[in-house]
Subunit: 395 residues, 2 copies
C-alpha cells in the first residue's frame, strides 16, 4: 500500500497506528525517544529531534506523505522537505494558521469567519489601548507555542496586564490580545480535507475544558439548534477549503449568547491534526479521525464521518496530583468490571500531574437528556477511577 | 500495563495490535519471517519457528500471557512453556479440542452437544462399516492439520472412500469420518472466556463458505429463531466452560432442517483464537474479538459483546487467479469512493490465488431483508473489486 511519515511521538501519532494497521498503511515515525507513546507501537522509528532538518528529511525518505502530530515543526524543516519533493500534509502555508494565533485571527477576519475583537500587542501602549477598547475584558495570548491553556492569560486589572505584557515582550514572546468572550460552552468542528479538495465534516462536538485542558467531549453536541449546527458545518468546510488544509482540521469554537438571546459561535483555535475533541470518533463514528487523517494526507477518498451511536462521550484520563498505589492494570480491571461497554485507551505514558495519559469513550443508545447525562457521568467516573483509584460517586 | 506474547504471524495476530495499542498492552511476536503480516506492525518481534521449543520459550519471556493465532503449536512447546511457569492461554488441555477433530467429536458427545454421527477410521474396514452405517453419506476428515477445507473429503462412492483411506493411512494421516450433513447454512457461535470463568457471547453469526473457505459473515444471523439463537448461545457458554477455554472460542455450526421441519444445529469445528467469522465485530460490536481475546487471556473483565449496528457484513478479500495490473492502492481508491462507509482491512500480504489478503466490513442501519441484502451486495462488490479491479455488477 502506502507509507506515511509522522513527525511527533505522542498519543496522536500512536493512535494513527490502529488505523494504519487496518488499511495496510506503513507508518514511519520521527520520535524524540525510543520509548515514547507512539514509538512503543510502531516498528519503523527514527529517534531524533523535529527541530533538526536532517532528522525530518531522514524520516520523510520513502514516504508517500509526511504529516505531524503537533504544530511545532520549524518552517526551515518544512521547506526542506518540500524542496526535496516530499508531500508535506498539511502544507506549511495552511499550517501557519495553526501555529500563529495572530496570523490565524487575521485570516479568519479576511474570510468573514466570526472572531472576537483582537489586536496585535507589540507594546504596553497597544495593551492599554485594547484594554480601553474592550472595557477591560482582555484575554492575552502568546501568538505561538501555547497549548492546554499555557500561553493564555486573563489579567484582572490594567496594572496586571501592563506588567504581564512588559515582561513577556521583554522575554521576546510575540503577543496578541482578544476580547474575553462570555462563554456559555465550547464547541468544536472536526473536518477533514484531502488534496483533491474533498471535505467531510463530523457532527459538531461539545467540549468541556477544566483548567484550560480538554476534560470531556460529547458528540453530537447536545441541544444544538440545527441551524447553528449547519452554520458551524459550513464554516468548517469554508475554513478547510480556503486555507487549503489537508488532513484533519479542528476548529475550536466559543459558544455565547448573542444580542438576540440565541446561541452563537466565534472561532477560537485551529488545529491541523487529529484533535482531543475528536477522540470520540474512535467509538462513535463510522470513520475515526485517525483513519480519516491518514486517508486525507494520502489523498485517498474520505470515509463516512456519520455518527454510529446516538451519543458518544469521551472523558480524558489526566494524571492526578499523586499517583495512587494501585497498579494501573488493577484500575483497568475495576473500570472494565463496572463498565463493560467503556472503551479504555491508554497511551503508554508514565505518571505526571495533569498529563494526558489516556481517555475513555462511551456510547449511549439514545440522545435524550437522561441518557446523555448518564453516559457523561459514567465516562467521567471511569476516567476518574483510572487516575485516582477511587469511585468519585462513593464515599 | 501488561505484555502478551503471540505465537503466529498472520492476520489474526496482526489484528490484535490495534486493540493492544488502545488498551496500552504490549505484544511480543514469534514470527516466521520479519515481513510477515503481523511482524510488519508490531515492534517486538522474534523471528523463529513455532515448532521450536526454544523459540517459543524465548518469545514467552517477560509475558503476562502467551497466546496463538493458530492451533499448530506442538504439545512439547506448550508443555515447556507451562513448565517454565508461563500463563499459556488457552491451556493445552483445552486447545487439544481445536487441534484434533476426533478428540473434539468425542468430547462434544460427552457434553451432550449435538454432533453428526462419526467414527474413528483406523482401517479400510472401519471406513466400509461407516459407509454402510450412514448410507454412503460420508465426510472423511484428517484429524489434525486441516484448514480452509484442506483435509476434508466427500467421496462419491465406496471405491473412492476405500482408496482415499488406504492412501491417507499409508501416509500416516490419522482419520475420522462423519455423516455428511444436509446443510442449509453455516452458523458460528463466538464466545470469549477468561481464566476467572467470565463468559461473554456475541450475537450468533451466519457464515458463507465458498470452496471450503469463509467468504462472508453476517451478524446477527438473519432469520434465526430466538429460541435457536438462545440454544446456540447456551451451547457456546457450555462448551467454553466445560472445556476450560480461555480467549476467543469460535464454534462453527452446521444448520440443517430437522425431522420437525425446523432449523436445527450441530457442532462442526472449534477454533480457540479470533476467527474469520468474527471479523465483523471490528465494525459491528462494542467489543471486537481481538480486544476481547487480549482481555480474556490476561484475565481482565470481558467487554460488552453487544452488536453496535443492526446488521454487519464481512466479506473476505481472497486473491484472484491472476493479480490485476491496477495497483492495490488504486483499487482501494475506487472502493473507498464508491463505498465511503466500507471498512477496508488489508493484511500486508502479497498476491496468491485464494489467499486471504484482507476483508471488508460494512454495517447497515436496519435489519430488514432489503437492507441485509443491500449490505451483503455492497460488501461483496467491494471485496471483489479489491482483488479483481472490476465491479462485479458492471459489464
Ligand atoms: N477570548 C477568550 N475568551 C474567553 N475564554 C477564552 C478566550 N480565549 C481562550 N479562552 C479559554 O482558554 C482556553 C485555552 O485557550 P486556547 O484554546 O486559545 O489556548 P491553547 O492553550 O492553545 O488551547 P488548546 O491546547 O486546548 O488548543 C480556551 O479553551 C477557553 O476556555
Ligand atoms: N459433516 C459434514 N457435512 C457436510 N459438510 C461438511 C461436513 N464437514 C465439513 N463440511 C464442509 O466442509 C467445510 C470445511 O470443513 P471443516 O470446517 O471441518 O474443515 P477445516 O478445513 O478445518 O475448515 P476451517 O479452516 O474453515 O475451520 C465446512 O465449512 C463445511 O462446508
Amino acid at each position: 500500500m502506502k507509507t506515511v511519515s509522522v513527525i511527533g511521538d505522542g498519543q496522536l501519532a500512536r493512535m494513527m497506528q490502529p488505523a494504519a494497521v487496518e488499511l495496510g498503511i506503513k507508518l514511519q515515525l520521527l520520535a524524540g525517544a525510543p520509548d515514547s507513546s507512539a514509538a512503543q507501537v510502531i516498528p519503523a522509528v527514527t529517534v531524533g529531534d523535529y527541530h533538526s532538518t536532517a532528522n525530518c528529511l531522514a524520516v520523510a525518505e520513502g514516504s508517500d506523505a509526511v504529516t505531524f502530530d503537533h504544530e511545532h515543526v520549524p518552517s526551515d524543516a518544512l521547506s526542506a522537505m518540500l524542496d526535496a519533493g516530499y508531500s508535506v500534509q498539511p502544507a506549511p502555508s495552511a499550517l501557519i494558521n495553526a501555529q500563529d494565533k495572530l496570523v490565524q485571527r487575521r485570516r479568519m477576519r479576511e474570510l468573514g469567519a466570526p472572531v472576537p475583537p483582537f489586536a496585535d500587542i507589540s507594546s504596553v501602549e497597544d495593551a492599554q489601548n485594547f484594554w480601553n477598547e474592550v472595557d477591560g475584558n482582555v484575554c492575552l495570548k502568546a501568538c505561538r507555542g501555547g497549548y492546554d491553556g499555557h500561553g493564555v492569560w486573563f489579567p484582572k486589572d490594567l496594572t496586571e496586564l501592563e506588567s504581564l505584557v512588559a515582561e513577556l515582550l521583554e522575554a521576546g514572546t510575540p503577543l496578541m490580545a482578544e476580547k474575553k468572550v462570555a462563554l456559555t460552552r465550547e464547541l468544536s468542528i472536526l473536518v477533514a480535507r484531502n488534496p483533491s479538495g474533498e471535505v467531510k465534516v463530523w457532527p459538531i462536538t461539545m467540549s468541556v475544558q477544566e483548567n484550560g485542558v480538554c476534560a470531556e467531549a460529547i458528540a453530537p453536541a447536545p441541544d444544538l439548534a440545527p441551524e447553528l449546527a449547519q452554520r458551524a458545518t459550513d464554516l468548517g468546510v469554508q475554513i478547510a477549503t480556503e486555507l487549503g488544509v489537508t488532513g484533519v482540521l479542528a476548529v475550536e469554537l466559543f459558544a455565547y449568547t448573542n444580542d438576540e438571546g440565541a446561541e452563537d459561535i466565534a472561532v477560537n483555535e485551529l488545529a491541523m491534526r487529529p484533535h482531543n475533541t475528536g477522540h470520540w470518533t474512535q467509538a462513535g463514528s463510522i470513520t475515526s479521525q485517525f483513519e480519516q487523517h491518514l486517508r486525507a494526507v494520502l489523498d485517498l477518498p474520505l470515509g463516512d464521518p456519520s455518527a454510529s451511536a446516538p451519543i458518544t462521550v469521551m472523558a480524558n484520563v489526566l494524571g492526578a496530583d499523586e499517583d495512587p498505589a494501585m497498579p494501573m492494570v488493577d484500575r483497568v480491571v475495576e473500570v472494565a468490571r463496572r463498565f463493560p461497554n467503556a472503551k479504555i485507551h491508554l497511551y503508554g505514558k508514565g505518571h505526571r500531574p495533569g498529563r494526558k495519559i489516556g481517555h475513555v469513550n462511551l456510547t449511549g443508545n439514545a440522545a435524550d437528556a437522561a441518557t446523555v447525562a448518564a453516559t457523561r457521568r459514567d465516562a467521567k467516573l471511569a476516567a476518574y477511577f483510572l487516575v485516582h483509584a477511587e469511585w468519585a460517586d462513593q464515599a
